[in-house]
C-alpha cells in the first residue's frame, strides 16, 4: 500500500485514471516521493537493475530510477519524461517490495474459475492474453502481470494494474484468489499437459519474474521464493488451442 506524494494536478489525474481500481483510502505502508528529475541519456540504453544491501535498495528502469529504505519505508522515485508514476519503474518497485514479503511478480495472466485462480505464465507470444480473452464471465486478474504471494492457507494470485496487450480492460478488477495451478504455456492445435518437477518449474518461472536478476541477494531470494511456491502449487506445461473448451480441459488437471 503506497502513499504517493509530489504529483502535480495533471500527473495526479493521470495516476488516478491509470491505477483507478487499485486506489485505496487505507493508511499507506510505504511512502513514495515522486520527482521528475531524470532525462534520457544518449548512447546505449542501460538495462533495468535492482540492487539491495543493508536495508537500502536501488532500482533503475532508464531513465527513471528509485532508491529507498526498507526500515524507514520510504522511496525516492525519480521519474523521467512522461508519466510521473512511470509504470515500468513502479512495476519494478512493486516487484521488489513483493519479494521482500516472500512473493513474486510474475509475467503471467490469471483467470478465476469457481473461486480459484489459474495462473498462465510464459514469454511474450505464448498465449497469456489469448487465454485471458477466453475467460468469458470468469474474472480476469490481469493478462500480463500477476502478484503471487503466500497466504495463511496457501499461495494466492492477486490482480495488478500492469496490463499487457489486452489493454486497460485487463486491469479493471482488484481481486485475489487462492491458486489452483500454475501453467507454463505453449500454443498448439491440441490440448496437452505435463506435470513439471520442482526444478523444471523453478527454471520455467525464474525468467518470468519481473525483476532484474543481476544481484546475488535478489537472485538468491528469488530462488528460495520460487522453490517455496512450487512446493505447494501444482505446476504444468500446458499446450492449448484457443477455444473455450480449455476450461473443461483444465478441470481434468486436478
Amino acid at each position: 500500500m503506497f502513499g504517493v506524494a509530489g504529483l502535480g494536478a495533471t500527473a495526479r489525474a493521470w495516476a488516478e485514471e491509470r491505477y483507478g481500481p487499485f486506489l485505496s483510502r487505507r493508511a499507506p505502508t510505504f511512502g513514495v516521493r515522486v520527482r521528475a528529475t531524470e532525462r534520457y541519456r544518449p548512447g546505449r540504453t542501460p538495462r533495468p537493475s535492482a540492487t539491495w544491501a543493508g536495508g537500502r535498495f536501488a532500482l533503475a528502469s532508464h531513465p527513471s530510477r528509485a532508491h529507498g529504505d526498507l526500515g524507514r519505508r520510504r522511496v525516492d522515485f525519480r521519474a523521467g519524461p512522461g508519466p510521473a508514476l512511470n509504470p515500468d519503474l513502479f512495476r519494478l518497485l512493486c516487484s521488489f517490495l513483493l519479494m521482500q514479503k516472500g512473493g513474486v511478480l510474475l509475467h503471467a495472466s490469471s483467470v478465476v474459475d469457481e473461486g480459484r485462480a489459474w495462473v498462465f505464465s510464459g514469454p511474450s507470444g505464448s498465449g497469456k492474453t489469448t487465454i485471458a480473452g477466453l475467460a468469458g464471465d470468469r474474472p480476469v486478474l490481469n493478462d500480463e502481470t500477476i502478484a503471487l504471494r503466500p497466504a495463511p492457507r496457501g499461495w494466492e494470485a492477486c490482480a495488478t494494474p500492469f496490463y499487457g496487450s489486452g489493454g486497460p480492460s485487463m486491469a479493471r478488477t482488484n481481486e485475489r484468489a487462492p491458486i489452483r495451478g500454475l501453467c507454463f504455456l505453449r500454443k498448439a492445435d491440441h490440448f496437452a499437459r505435463r506435470r513439471l518437477s520442482a526444478s523444471e518449474a523453478v527454471a520455467r518461472a525464474f525468467p518470468e519474474v519481473m525483476l532484474p536478476k543481476r544481484d546475488d541477494r535478489v537472485t538468491t531470494r528469488l530462488l528460495d521464493t520460487l522453490a517455496a511456491l512450487v512446493a505447494t502449487v501444482p505446476t504444468w506445461e500446458l499446450a492449448f488451442k484457443p477455444e473455450p473448451a480449455l476450461w473443461s480441459y483444465l478441470d481434468g488437471l486436478d
Binding site: S197, A198, S199, V202, A203, F206, K213, R214, L223, A227
Partner: protein, 98 residues
C-alpha cells in the same frame, strides 16, 4: 587440462537444490543452469576439499556406471562449469591445505 591434483571449487553464485536436482545462476551472464541429479551431486561435491579423483570415487559408489565412464563424464561436466566460470580449479598436492 591435466586433472591430476585438481580440486574444483564452486564459485560464490546463487544456487539451490530441488529434490535431487539443482539450479545454478550465473548472475553476471544472466543465465540459469538446470543440473540433473548427477550434475547436482557433482556441484555439491565441488567444495574445494575433494579432488577430482575423490569426486569420481563418490559418484562411482552412488551411481551404477563404469568408473571410466563416470570419470570422463564428470571431467567433461567440470570443464563446462569451469568454462562458464561457475567453478575454479585449484591445483595442489593431496593433503596440502588451501
Amino acid at each position: 587440462m591435466d586433472w591430476t591434483d585438481a580440486f574444483p571449487v564452486r564459485k560464490s553464485v546463487p544456487w539451490r537444490t530441488l529434490d535431487t536436482e539443482a539450479l545454478v545462476v550465473d548472475v553476471k551472464g544472466g543465465l540459469l543452469y538446470p543440473l540433473n541429479s548427477v550434475g547436482a551431486r557433482i556441484w555439491d561435491l565441488c567444495d574445494g576439499a575433494r579432488s577430482v579423483d575423490e569426486i569420481v570415487g563418490v559418484l562411482a559408489a552412488e551411481f551404477e556406471a563404469p568408473e571410466p565412464t563416470i570419470r570422463a563424464d564428470a571431467i567433461e561436466f567440470l570443464e563446462r562449469l569451469a568454462d562458464a566460470k561457475l567453478v575454479s580449479i585449484e591445483r595442489r598436492r593431496k593433503g596440502e591445505s588451501r
